[in-house]
């Protein structure tokens, strides 16, 4: 079997595997549903997810250790992931091949030549990692301030080393000592400057362009909802994702750019490819020419996927190991060797120290600038309701890679990608919109946290979510609190009975309770008692239509307030108004005023019981802007949002 055939099989396999994982990320017990499928495996294999969250959080969460495997293999083999595993790369390669298969060899060679723009992806990754590194840098800089003994010890050790070196005459101890002291002073100054300041912050934005989260997000939120139907039946109600246009536009732009230049995204944009390019600098094997036999025909450039110029000095950092040059070379010159290419090789990407420093600096300053908006503390947006189990906002933003897995698995479609509600940093992070979906956030459901690959949403147990057993003292997980808008609520503002919110409140005892009130009904005139037989009242005055007032919700009193309870109207006909019971028989006189009353149950929210599930908001019959709405007040994840004593 030819090596390129093996590569195609591998790409096809991982592409199908990826699609399969997307499809089976459906709640249920069928074999094609979630069950035990490792649907996050592709994300976990992506070392950029692991590296970036390691920078922001200081730990490598659970399955993200898989990234280490990719990392190690890349160090030894080069960018094998791009050419052999990455499903997004496979898609680009397929589209690029389809678009360009009729083009002449000379045009293809031109399309596949190296371009300076391919350096942009290194700028992207340096910027993104810079934005993620603030916390780590802060911790490092704080070392001399927090642990002066340790820092002093290290400094003394280095000085001692310099002294030893000086007397063993292997180097100039003086220069060594001067640099150690200089570094120590700068370090200490920076540490003191950043200590307690907001100069450094970490923000995880790799997910915007990291190909694996990007591909998951695009498929989950923009492709599957479109094709879900009779043939592929994933959800009973059609799914809605606001902002899908932008998510989809990014995806299709990336795909269609292959028509201009094959694997455009991989060559110019992909931060993961850039990371691999940097890591593969010392790869043991790499593509290159044998010492002799090359006729300089240039055939190896024709189908080069990475734009790494194998015919000339090969740029190993750009090589995606597609192996096409091995296949195209008619003289057997190209190979995957331990030795460098005979035509020369450039192992590391062509980066200027100044550009890297400037980009890193931009990344480092972007995160604290974004935080100045205050959305992670004082200016928090109460409309951003995070899924149950989400970490406090700053920590949440340090973990969420915007992959959309929580939105995909949510059985009620209530988890939605944020636009700018959570700030620029929070774009495409999950938030709950109770107006959409099939129901609010279901009380016993823990799907999102258990799928989240980075634990931005903690994996809760049902007991923890509901506050049972060992969690009884903490109470249930609250994601917000419902507030009745008395200006829009039917019983409060419009004298119409309703209390759908109370009916649907799922907690016991209900967080929504009612207080009854009898309110006089608006009539065009006054009703007067004409006569009375048993439960039947005859009256003068405006018409009282049965369909409106004999519904079981309307009552009346006769005469002025004599302390008698209102009586329910059971029927209205030609013979007058029929009451269920007539307490007025003894006291009422002809000509007394009849007051028609509607019995209203007015809803109230008890914040001690409300968990913010939003089922009330979802069910509220005032469908535009709901008359009861949940905001993030009293959410469990941030103590500062507490509402009660």
């Amino acid at each position: 079997m030819k090596i390129v055939t093996a590569r195609r099989i591998s790409q096809f396999f991982f592409f199908l595997l990826f699609l399969w994982f997307c499809v089976v990320s459906t709640l249920g017990e069928q074999w094609w549903q979630l069950r035990g499928w490792p649907v996050n495996w592709m994300i976990q294999l992506d070392p950029l997810v692991g590296l970036a969250t390691l920078l922001t959080t200081g730990t490598l969460y659970a399955g993200l250790l898989w990234g280490l495997l990719t990392l190690v293999l890349t160090i030894v083999l080069g960018r094998f992931f791009c050419g052999w595993v990455c499903p997004f790369g496979a898609l680009h390669q397929a589209v690029g091949w389809l678009a360009n298969r009729r083009r002449k060899a000379s045009r293809m060679m031109a399309a596949n030549r190296y371009r300076r723009g391919q350096g942009v992806k290194y700028a992207i990754i340096v910027f993104l990692l810079g934005a993620a590194a603030g916390d780590l840098l802060d911790r490092l800089l704080a070392l001399p301030v927090n642990m002066p003994l340790v820092a002093g010890g290290i400094g003394a050790g280095l000085l001692l080393l310099g002294t030893v070196a000086h007397y063993s005459k292997s180097m100039s101890g003086l220069r060594w000592a001067v640099s150690v002291v200089c570094i120590a002073i700068v370090w200490l100054l920076l540490g003191l400057l950043t200590d307690g300041s907001r100069l450094l912050a970490a923000s995880l934005q790799t997910g915007l362009l990291d190909p694996i989260p990007l591909f998951y997000r695009s498929v989950n939120l923009t492709l599957l909802p479109l094709v879900d139907g009779r043939l592929l039946s994933l959800s009973s109600a059609s799914r809605i994702y606001p902002g899908a246009l932008v998510i989809g536009a990014l995806f299709w732009t990336a795909v269609l750019l292959n028509l201009r230049i094959p694997r455009f995204y991989c060559r110019f944009v992909c931060p993961l490819g850039a990371l691999f390019g940097l890591l593969g600098k010392n790869a043991l094997w790499r593509i290159g020419q044998k010492p002799d036999g090359c006729t300089a025909c240039g055939a190896c450039d024709r189908h080069c996927e990475g734009g790494c110029e194998p015919a000339a000095t090969i740029r190993t950092a750009e090589c995606v190991l597609c192996m096409n040059c091995l296949d195209d070379c008619r003289h057997g010159v190209m190979g995957y060797h331990l030795h460098a290419s005979a035509a020369g090789e450039m192992a590391a990407p062509d980066l200027s120290r100044r550009a890297v420093a400037a980009t890193l600096f931009s990344g480092l300053t972007a995160a604290p600038l974004a935080r100045l908006a205050g959305l992670t503390d004082a200016a928090w947006n109460p409309d951003v309701i995070r899924p149950p189990g989400s970490l406090p906002e700053a920590e949440f933003l340090q973990r969420c890679i915007k992959c959309g897995q929580c939105m995909r698995i949510c059985p009620t479609n209530v988890i939605q990608p944020a636009g700018l509600q959570a700030g620029v940093e929070g774009i495409w992070t999950p938030m709950l919109n109770f107006r959409m979906g099939t129901s609010g956030c279901q009380q016993g459901c823990i799907a999102c946290g258990n799928l989240c690959p980075t634990s931005a949403i903690r994996p809760l147990s049902v007991d923890e979510r509901l506050g049972r057993k060992s969690f009884a003292s903490r109470g249930p997980v609250r994601i917000g609190t419902a507030f009745v808008d008395r200006g829009r609520c039917l019983p409060w503002a419009m004298d119409r009975p309703c209390i759908v919110c109370q009916e649907n409140c799922p907690v016991s005892p209900k967080a929504i309770f009612t207080r009854s009130e009898y309110r006089p009904v608006r009539l065009e005139g006054e009703l007067q008692l004409q006569g009375m037989t048993d439960n039947r009242l005859l009256f003068h005055g405006p018409a009282v239509p049965a369909e409106q007032f004999a519904t079981g919700d309307y009552y009346l009193t006769v005469g002025d307030d004599r302390g008698l309870p209102p009586a329910r109207i059971s029927a209205i006909g030609a013979g007058g108004i029929v009451l269920e019971k007539n307490p007025f028989a003894g006291t009422a006189a002809e000509g007394d005023r009849i007051t028609l009353l509607v019995r209203l149950q007015l809803p109230f929210v008890d914040p001690a019981h409300c968990i913010g599930c939003g089922i009330c908001e979802h069910e509220c019959p005032v469908k535009g802007r709901r008359a009861i709405r949940v905001t993030a007040e009293n959410e469990t994840r941030v103590r500062e949002h507490r509402l009660l004593l």
Binding site: L27, G28, E29, S235, S236, A237, S238, P411, T412, G437, T438, S439, Q442, Q443, G444, C445, L490, R496, P497, C498, I499, V500, Q502, E503, N504, C505, P506, V507, S508, P509, K510, T514, E547, T551, G552, D553, R568, S570, A571, E580, Q601, I615, E619, C620, P621, K623
Partner: protein, 337 residues
Amino acid sequence: MNQTTEEEILLTEPSIDRREFLGRCTRAGLSVAAAGTLGIGFYDSHPPEGSVAENGSLRIPDYSRAEMKGHICIARGTDRAATVRQAFAALGGMEAFVNPGERVLLKVNAAFASPPSLGATSHPDLVEAVVGMCLEAGASQVIVTDNPINDPASCFALTGIEAAARQAGARIVLPREALFRRFSLNGGRLIRNWPVLYDPLTKVHRVIGMAPVKDHHRSGASMTLKNWYGLLGGRRNIFHQDIHTIIQELALLVRPTAVVLDGIQTMISNGPTGGSLSDLKPTGTLIVSTDPVAADAAGAALLNKQPGDLPFIAKAETAEAGTADYRSLVLKEIHTG
């Protein structure tokens, strides 16, 4: 000099040959004709209708059996499956309700995504038993459906109804958009041009309604009549403004073969969602009736209420959907172990 000007004239005023001219005229003429035909063909002088026109042609059949009219069995027991079997047996067995080869629809209460132990939904044991009886009576197919309040798939899965129904050999129909049709109830005031879970209703010969007895703050009680709410689609919540009238209309919407009212346990408080075992009270009663109004009237006692406390019962009776005086029917009272 002269030559140059001549050349310039030739360049600036090019001629067209006859053949090309005629060709272009023909193509232009055809294009004009095509555009004109399309434009006139699609011409519409009327503005679009503001709302969807009413479809008055849809009918929901009467699923009741004339010979079984006015039968009710009030069974006391603790085991749902055994009690419902004996209750049906007391009324002549499921064979009296379902003929061999008929298709049966069970309208269960799967409204909430909560476990069976909390009693907010039809109990899986009961569903399994009734499905089993229908199939034993020779039913060719049993369909179980509801349009729940919470997410449909979650509701059927978490309530245990899906597993129980499948186990017993029934098919679950989840409420897809395509299964609803805009329906107007004859003489109805609220159910007008309203989406109703119509498709499953037209595919069966018999309908059995199954509901637990539950506290309901707005209507007073949720029993077999309120249970038909789950056949409505759309923004059905707005009917809560006139809850008793909508229940009256629902009683007219479906004339079931039988209803099964499960009061083995009663949700005495915090209904209709419940959420805690303390909301439930053992009441050891199961009612099978061909008259849903009578079933609800008999069931009211389990909530410590009189039928008169529930206006929808009187309204349904007035509309001739049944009788509240269940003692006037063919009444069997049985005790099971």
